[in-house]
Amino acid sequence: MKRLLIGVVGALVLAGAGLGVMYAIGTRDDTAAQVSSVAAGDPPEARIERGRYLARLGNCAACHTVAGGQAYAGGTAIPTAFGTLYGPNISSDPEHGIGSWTEDDFWQALHNGKAPDGTLLYPAFPFTEYTRMPRDDADALFAFLRTVPASDQASRPHELAFPYDQRVLLAFWRALYFKAGTWVADATQSLQWDRGRYLVEGPAHCAACHTARNSLGATTGGAPLGGAMIEGLGWYAPPLTGDDATGLGQWSHADIAALLTTGVSARGAAAGPMVEVVAGSTQYLSGEDADAIAQYLKSLPAGARANPGARPSQATMDIGAQRYRQYCAQCHQANGEGSGTAWPPLAGNLSVTAPSPINAIRVVLDGGYAPSTATNPRPHGMPPYGQVLNDNDIAALTTYIRNSWGNEASAVTSLEVKRARGQ
């Protein structure tokens, strides 16, 4: 009995010590590069301009500016599996924004994921990627944000379910999934490739959508940039790896750069959440940076090909073909090749051939315009057909386009369409 007691107490002590160690790991600071690069006095114009560029690259506005609202005043809802977070006010207001922060405070947030008072930040704020940004870039971004007009709009509290609303638990999440550290150049690669990797893994935080998350929301749920469902939004972010059928294997460097900077390309147009990403962020990429990203992405090897599953029935394909002729062929053509960048091809289109049919379903249901960009200010738009076609028709239609012209992907059920309507 005494031995049992000793054993239990010992186990508890060990568990406590383990948690203590995890807590210590999860709350420690990376003190490297703490020294600000900012000289005394007002930040020079060039630094502010670089910061403006980085703010767009990081698409800060996506979470910190509501549609039609004051820039960076916060309030955007970010739906997650754990509840809804709201991007806070990061304007220059000293009380409600970050106007009273110092460069060191900002670095602490970006690099270590902590507020100035040490409060742990939720990783919906992608400090997990921003940590790779060097101090120079962080200081430039901060210099820009200081120029954002103050908004006295109070940041909206997050609405998270228990236990995710207990910030102290983030220490354990961080111990498991976060390691602060700036990006280190790979001497074996070209400068351009390196720049591309930095942009993708750092400020542009592509993994936030394109890498699968595990049950605790960490981007370790699948191959890096191997494609993922964006749970809160109900869209699928396709692989950015070299997969032939479902990734960027067939895309040229120019196709990738065109999609990022214009929203359209010979291989497909931005759809769903990527419309907002192009409009708010990647359209502002310099030509060199767009090329760098393309070069880096094109170097990523293909992942394992998922089995597309059984061939759909001929009856389903026949119904789908009929609907296709009626509603789609006029623009996308009978051969699925579309027409230029106005009407994207469906043959080999990543949104069509993805392992998940959700993007194809959503585009048919809701339609949507490509983003309006400086190069393509008057985009064409896909009509919505959710009002015209029922679930069975859309299931047959999307099954047909996923399995025609060389496309090969799973058949779509009417239940999947019904679920998509409810989202």
């Binding site: 039609g68 907002e276 315009y369 919505p384």
Partner: protein, 260 residues
């Protein structure tokens, strides 16, 4: 009374549609609909305006001549400034219908103004009015409200702002004819319930709130029963002295090339 219910029902269906509840979203897709021809024009060429607005005409009909079922109103020939403001309101969430907000979200002001101009310039023929069941008393009440308003309750006549021919007033007051009864009822009902808004001061919200549900039903029944006689164009700007101030009439046009 039944008509009032029908009218309120139409309004509530619009609200349900705003939340995109599939079961209540109008119209319920049926297999038969799939055998109908696509509403897109027979030939479309890429990079034309007709192609750029294919996402609009799929529901609103070719040239924006109205959808087949009464839920998608006519766009053709409405004043450009009116259409532009509606597009802005939908995009920015001031007018609530999720499918529209989704479509317009990525589009900048200048492009929306161009789209509005395209539909304003379309002159598709008007179909004869689809007269539903309405008592002569109801129609007479609608006619009186339209022509004279109700001075006792400070309700202005429709014609006071929308013109003697009900064809609208430049730059942004739309015509009221050629619209489905349910649509008219649903719009006034939405204004009464603060679900539809216009630029401040929102004169139509003010007028709508002075109307009873019975008034709305009567006006919707009467207006939708009237045929359109060509040429059906808005009265010249400032040719009428408005009984209420309307923010939509002084709403700024987009800065050319301006981004959202």
């Amino acid at each position: 009374m039944l008509l009032v219910l029908a009218c309120q029902c139409a309004a509530s269906m619009q609200n349900a549609a705003a939340q995109s509840t599939p079961a209540a979203a109008p119209p319920t897709p049926v297999t038969a609909a799939a055998s109908d021809q696509s509403t897109l024009p027979a030939t479309l060429r890429p990079n034309t305006m007709a192609a750029r607005v294919a996402a609009c005409t799929a529901c609103h009909g070719e040239q924006g001549r109205a959808g087949a079922d009464g839920y998608y109103p006519r766009l053709a020939g409405k004043p450009q400034d009116y259409l532009y403001q509606q597009l802005l309101h939908f995009r920015d969430g001031d007018r609530i219908y999720r499918p529209m907000t989704h479509l317009l979200a990525p589009l900048p002001d200048a492009y929306l103004y161009e789209i509005a101009g395209y539909f304003a310039a379309q002159h598709a023929p008007y179909p004869p009015p689809a007269r539903g069941p309405a008592s002569s008393a109801l129609l007479e009440r609608g006619r009186l409200l339209t022509q004279q308003g109700d001075p006792a309750r400070d309700v202005p006549a429709c014609v006071a702002c929308h013109g003697a021919r009900l064809s609208g007033l430049a730059p942004a007051i739309p015509g009221l004819l050629g619209l489905p009864r349910d649509y008219i009822g649903a719009q006034i009902g939405s204004w009464r319930g603060d679900l539809r808004r216009a630029a401040a001061p929102d004169c139509m919200a003010e007028v709508s709130k002075r109307l009873t549900p019975e008034d709305v039903a009567a006006v919707a029944a009467w207006l939708s029963s009237l045929p359109v006689t060509e040429p059906y164009v808005p009265e010249a700007a400032e040719s009428l002295s408005l009984p209420l101030a309307c923010g939509s009439q002084t709403f700024p046009m987009p800065v050319t090339g301006g981004a959202k």
